[in-house]
């Protein structure tokens, strides 16, 4: 899967833009469709309310413990994603839903012994990106690299379930299957000192790539 890169855009979402909505499609797809077996994974029913508590790891990056909440609502063909982060870095926060089902534990998942879980060590646990929570959830290309910015931010985006699920399927071969997936948010102040062993990817700075919070998505209501 080719990950959308931050470098592809210099446009940062402001809080005002974050409340704007993508177009809501009308493909007629219902979340109540029959279960199908795909890639040895039973497809979940999409429709419902989901929530994830975003908790810090890599606590010693800058002496502050960030935390947040993600809420996802799927009704008929509309997906609404809301993420809240409370941090102390007024930086861009790349965020995405990953294929895996476990959050990293710094003490356990730091493979190179530098005391941090960098983005590569993180993806060994969380899996690759299922879809980014960026400027446009409907499309792989549109909105690429546009992420919320701020010390504390609220991100709200709406999308068409059929478009989002179709995009995910075509790029990753995966069903959406949100329950149990992992949400990650990245980004610390560019002045944060990191060791040379702190890996990055996709031309991101190590600070922009640094994962700071993680949460597992749980279904709250059908």
């Amino acid at each position: 899967m080719k990950m959308k890169t931050v470098a592809s855009s210099t446009f940062l979402l402001t809080l005002a833009l974050l409340t704007s909505c993508g177009k809501s499609g009308s493909s007629g797809r219902s979340g109540q469709e029959a279960e199908t077996i795909d890639h040895e994974v039973v497809k979940q029913i999409d429709e419902g309310s989901y929530r994830a508590l975003l908790r810090p790891f890599n606590n010693h990056l800058n002496g502050f413990l960030p935390s947040g909440i993600a809420e996802i609502e799927i009704r008929e063909d509309q997906v609404t994603v809301k993420t809240l982060l409370d941090d102390d870095g007024r930086v861009m926060h790349m965020q995405s839903i990953h294929m895996g089902n476990r959050c990293p534990i710094t003490a356990r998942d730091d493979q190179n012994g530098d005391t941090y879980v960098d983005i590569k060590e993180m993806e060994a646990i969380t899996g690759a990106v299922l879809f980014p929570l960026d400027g446009d959830l409907n499309s792989h290309e549109e909105g690429a690299g546009q992420y919320p910015m701020g010390r504390g931010f609220t991100y709200i985006k709406k999308a068409s379930l059929s478009k989002l699920a179709g995009d995910v399927k075509s790029r990753t071969g995966q069903n959406l299957n949100l329950e149990g997936r992992v949400i990650i948010i990245h980004g610390v102040d560019p002045r944060t000192r990191l060791p040379d062993t702190f890996a990055t990817k996709d031309n991101l700075t190590p600070q922009a790539a640094a994962p700071i919070v993680c949460g597992i998505i749980k279904r709250e209501a059908p």
Partner: protein, 277 residues
């Protein structure tokens, strides 16, 4: 609120991004100020005169929490801490614990049930002391389980060395029978993803991984020997704030209950109403 006696602009560089919060001043250390909400702000303390009684609105730099400016807000109705400075010249005698005994949770499975019942609908801007108070009392109301609070206090030398941005933290702590072994498990539902042992909990905040010295005296922390990174105080579920630990030490008065009025007030400060059971 009667406003502003003093405004001091320490640095006004337009490019600096600031975080603003309001809190009473807890005390001043060399190089930083401690606020009652647990935050610290770094500054040259020789150049300012913030006192423990002061209630201040603070602008702190986003990155390193250096103090950019502050205003002192006066309000006669504000509760004012007494001066919390202490001097000790010998090893203090431990103060006797209250009669409070925590319930022994019968199994790890039941401990996980307690964890999973924790109210996840906290307000974004809320204090650890308030969240911990509600979590502990919610469980007490549900099942009668009595828990303790674990207070961790970070010393000036530690805060300065890692530029840590809080000087204390508190969470509920349960006593659990894990297949015949009695354990203390800390349940900090906002910042950790599972119940932690005391050492795991302190390691989340003390990056040197040094053990924290356990004490019964808040003053032992407050004089802040530079040789330690952190102190721990274990108290009953009824204690919410460091100031209450201080009162117990000074006056020998234990907080043995929590009123419904206090719980209502604390709940409203820390949690969203829709989640109230």
């Amino acid at each position: 609120m009667k406003l502003v006696i003093l405004t001091l602009a320490i640095m006004t560089a337009a490019s600096v991004q600031a975080e603003t919060f309001r809190s009473r001043v807890h005390g001043q250390e060399e190089g930083f100020v401690k606020f009652s909400n647990g935050r610290v702000a770094f500054l040259d303390t020789r150049s300012v005169n913030l006192m423990p009684a002061d209630y201040a609105e603070v602008d702190a730099d986003d990155f390193d929490t250096s103090l950019l400016s502050f205003k002192i807000l006066n309000d006669e109705k504000e509760y004012r801490n007494k001066n919390l400075s202490f001097t000790i010249d010998q090893e203090p005698e431990p103060i006797p614990r209250s009669e409070f005994e925590p319930t022994i949770v019968p199994s790890m499975a039941e401990a996980m049930n307690i964890w999973n019942r924790s109210n996840p609908y906290w307000k974004r801007i809320s204090e650890c002391s308030d969240r911990a108070h509600i979590w502990a009392h919610d469980e007490f109301k549900r099942t009668g389980t009595k828990s303790e609070k674990i207070f961790i206090f970070l010393t000036a030398s530690y805060i300065d060395s890692v530029r840590f941005k809080w000087w204390f933290h508190v969470a509920p702590m349960y006593t659990v029978n894990d297949n015949g072994t009695i354990k203390k498990l800390v349940m900090d539902y906002r910042y950790t993803d599972r119940p932690l042992t005391i050492k795991e909990f302190t390691d989340e905040l003390v990056f040197t991984k040094r053990h924290c010295k356990v004490t019964t005296r808040f003053s032992e922390y407050d004089v802040n020997p530079q040789t330690e990174n952190c102190y721990l105080i274990f108290e009953s579920m009824h204690y919410r704030l460091p100031a209450e630990l201080h009162t117990t030490e000074l006056k020998g008065l234990y907080k043995t209950s929590t009123s419904e009025a206090e719980l209502r007030m604390v709940f409203n400060m820390a949690f969203m109403k829709k989640a109230r059971e």
